[in-house]
Symmetry: C2
Subunit: 432 residues, 2 copies
């Protein structure tokens, strides 16, 4: 093979990172692949824009067809983002027998199955490692390293923005708004942080992880999502006091062939491997029946880490090209989707309640729990905050989500309960 | 392809794990590979031994040639251990065009290059993921996930026995002998723990990691080794006080095309991702120029985790067989070996000294450091332990190993210094 020719859709920070890595590692890549790599064409929106990498002007184009319909291009690298238009481009590229590498989690969470099927039909490779947890080779580890294991649980800190914010809130006592502003100034959070702080970004990644880890097509709508905007300083203080660390955790569990997937603020036992994943870092914890606990830790975003993942995927595509075996390793979901019902989802919960500081109220509250079969592991009765108001903090034993929601509904209806101030999932034991 | 036929050299706990996983995951493996897997022959030393897995007697043999010279066997899985005999068996198997999967770190550290070269010459696959950090897909991540990155540093907790012992000593204040006994009772340490506690086991794994990560043939003799047997309670207390955690760390650094590899008890900053890897767990921390910090965490040993890694390697071999591309992806070291000299190895060091409690002694000691250009970051002067003896604890700034060794030699020669009680490498900042 003379040289492998690449077309790049997009030249933002990640795209520029891909160009830089390919340029700086020609020798290493040649050694690994056996033939040189050439960037043939790059789609940009503005030909004249000043960039921090130098690319000859005749490599740039504003017309996507110059790439996806270009017979000289072997592999399309998609780093332009977006969903609908991008999906059309990539389907067309696959139809034209071009292999695809993408970093686009939104696209994969919504149209992953369609794109993978199109790739298999056209004998093309289609890789998307960079779409989850930027620099961490987690998809590869799920597909290959744990290929013979039965994965039953995955937990991920898969959004760097929220992890940064929660770290600052927990460790430095920063209020949410201050931590968010800091994250924005450092470039970890966008001007409109909604998708991050409401948990949507993490939910997309968990859908991708669950689909791959459980070999079952999990859609974004299947992921129960709760963001971090309502977490208060008090919650974090109680968490610490009880031996927990608050993290935005994506959880995917497979049990009796049924799956639950959620993203929610979770109190993690301090001794859990994920509890010490701080700042903007990501990590994915995987539990397999045979292997037991493993965890993959690294940068979840950033132009160079993400570009590293993309180029790693590219290397596999190119090795496959040299060997003539592209499109032979695409694994589509094997099992029919079965989701757990709330009565089948078990967890421990943390609940903080403001109630009337009166005789009998506490007994009323605990009797609601016992009425629904939810037993309590920890109870903190706290000094009255305001006149007439008692703060009660409870941690349950394992209970079904159904029962727990029933408890909450009855508590809300109770005259003597002012507010359920907060409620979080709990993983692990805290101080026992 | 009708079925892929496997020969197993060894049927200890790991071998039994491989048999169990293959038997329990036939459907999943079939889905991934596209054809069934059959265990054809298993080498054992005793045909009549009672085992916890049932294998028909005609599958067992005491003659290795029934496997390595058997024309019906496609892949040899080596889980018998040992070096010289095993090496001969595997070379013969490769000559007979059989692919090989091994979990044997001693073999790989000593004869890895020879075996990989023989595999490439015979068009065979040769994988050894399970030889380093049992259940963690670290070799795969280095070869594939970080394939386009320039890896400059690897740090590993790659021996579960010593990590268990140090965790018990640090967290529970157990003396070394008690922690070792506990590890032996739990099956984490062998009756003769020498290879673990003296760091040799870790050194073999670091040689394998460095060879792969830096693409440079690093031999066991190139690894500087120090074990954990001399670590005292006092050392652990000072470590904690200064904001460090004591771990047996394998370090491999690449700088200016030169490499240093060592295994030694190291004071790690509490905030380092490796500092919270406890008990029998292993982890490998990898720093790449583009990706930044990543870490891979999981069980370092155990029959099922190790067997998971072996079967994952097997799956790759079998996919390659189906595609007809075996032996095409073996990467032999690209760069000539260049080792750093002591004058080129820079680190911080912790030093604990017993000296005469007299006027001027402290000034004498610090002047030796400054004479050799080694500046001090932290100094603890401690209450006199015994009459006339002062305990002095120092942490240096970055210094060359050469300069640090010269300082130690001069201190030893000093009349007023009784003993250098302990000396450790330091990584990170501790309490600053």
């Amino acid at each position: 093979m003379e040289a492998i020719s690449i077309g790049l859709l997009g030249l933002g920070t990640v795209g520029s990172g891909v160009v830089k890595i390919i340029e700086n590692h020609q020798e290493k890549l040649l050694h690994q692949i056996g033939c040189p790599i050439k960037i043939n064409k790059v789609l940009v929106t503005d030909l004249t824009k000043k960039r921090d990498i130098e690319l000859s002007l005749d490599l740039l184009t504003t017309n996507a067809l110059d790439i996806i319909d270009n017979p000289n291009i072997d592999v399309v690298v998609e780093v332009m983002g977006g969903v609908e238009e991008t999906r059309r481009y990539l389907l067309q590229a696959l139809k034209n027998k071009k292999h695809v590498v993408t970093a686009n989690k939104d696209l994969m969470a919504e149209h992953g199955s369609e794109l993978l099927t199109a790739a298999a039909e056209n004998g093309c490779d289609f890789f998307y490692e960079a779409s989850v947890a930027g620099g961490i080779p987690i998809l590869r580890s799920l597909v290959e390293g744990l290929s013979s294991d039965h994965i039953t649980k995955m937990m991920g800190i898969v959004n760097g923005t929220t992890n940064y914010i929660l770290t600052k809130m927990s460790k430095q006592g920063s209020p949410y708004e201050v931590a968010l502003k800091e994250a924005q100034e450092l470039g970890y959070a966008e001007a409109d942080p909604t998708s991050d702080v409401e948990g949507l970004d993490a939910a997309r990644k968990m859908a991708i992880l669950a689909t791959l880890g459980f070999s079952m097509k999990i859609d974004l709508e299947d992921v129960k999502v709760q963001g971090i905007t309502h977490i208060t300083e008090e919650d974090l203080q109680y968490a610490k006091q009880l031996g927990y660390t608050m993290k935005l955790i994506g959880i995917a569990v497979l049990e009796d062939d049924k799956v639950e997937v959620s993203v929610q603020p979770t109190l993690l036992s301090d001794s859990h491997p994920l509890a010490s994943v701080n700042n903007e870092f990501n990590a994915v914890y995987v539990y397999g029946e045979a292997v037991g606990e493993t965890m993959f830790y690294g940068p979840g975003a950033g132009s160079l880490p993400t570009a590293t993942s993309i180029v790693a995927d590219l290397v596999v595509v190119m090795k496959n090209m040299v060997l003539g075996v592209n499109g032979k390793r695409i694994i589509t979901p094997q099992h029919e989707k079965k989701l757990k019902k709330p009565a089948e989802i078990y967890s421990k919960y943390f609940l903080r309640i403001h109630a009337k500081d009166e005789l009998g109220v506490f007994a009323n509250i605990t009797s609601i729990f016992s009425h629904h079969g939810v037993s309590l592991e920890k109870i903190l009765q706290l000094p009255v905050k305001e006149k007439g108001i008692a703060e009660i903090v409870l941690v349950t034993h394992n209970a079904s989500l159904q029962a727990y929601e029933d408890v909450q509904a009855e508590l809300e209806a109770l005259q003597s309960v002012h507010h359920i101030k907060s409620s979080y999932r709990v993983e692990g034991n805290g101080n026992s």
